[in-house]
Amino acid sequence: MRGRAVFTTLLIIHGLMAVALLGSMTHQTAAALWPATSKASFISSFRGVAGARYTVANIILYVVTGLLGAVVYVAYRLAVRPYLESAQLWTINGSFELKEQFAAIGLGMLPLYWWVWRTPLDPKLASARGAVTALLCFIVWYSFLVGHVLNNVRGLFGR
């Protein structure tokens, strides 16, 4: 029972870290792809952040969220996936399979992500900056939504 409480606590922290990463990464992606010069409205304020200031925080959040996910993954493999298979929830099962592969690919992109956001920002890297950030943002959004849906379907130790 104690092990279950630990895994559940870690899953909640994993989810909270993912929320922080989601917001931070979305701000930075908006700043990279759709920069705003004024902050006259809510939308332009959302886009008008200094993107480079988010980089290190995003890397730390991505790594820590991934590490927590890697720990919780053990409980998923033992308690959740067998249920998904026996219930024939193939789409949900496949969505998580994709999540683990996408998250791994994102991990390998982090050094490049740090490099393209180095200050002073290199104007020649603007398009790469946008592409790398948008791809990581997609991975973070996809992972978050799949994890959320999966938790709604089963949780870690649901009956």
Partner: protein, 106 residues
Amino acid sequence: MSYTRVFPLFAAAFAVVYVLSVEGNWALVTYHPRINEWEWLTRPAKSGPPMYWYGWLATSFLAASAISLVALPLTRRWQPPVWIGWAVPLAVMLVFVYLLRSFFLR
């Protein structure tokens, strides 16, 4: 910093080696969660399902680091194009969608 020139190559190599590791099941380590036991390389199930994901990550990290290290002297004369650092991972993500399509087509 000169070593940063290989980062696009590292991202591309990591993604390619990762998909090859998953498809070929080249895991550096295998974890048996039911009995809390780690083993080197790819091992079959002992008690309960084995987990290879950690091993695939380790294989990809080591291989991409080795490729980047070997390529580092070459980058003094040839800068790897930055786009390979996002285009190759994007392509590998699409390959995974294709490889896992059976989950969504049942």
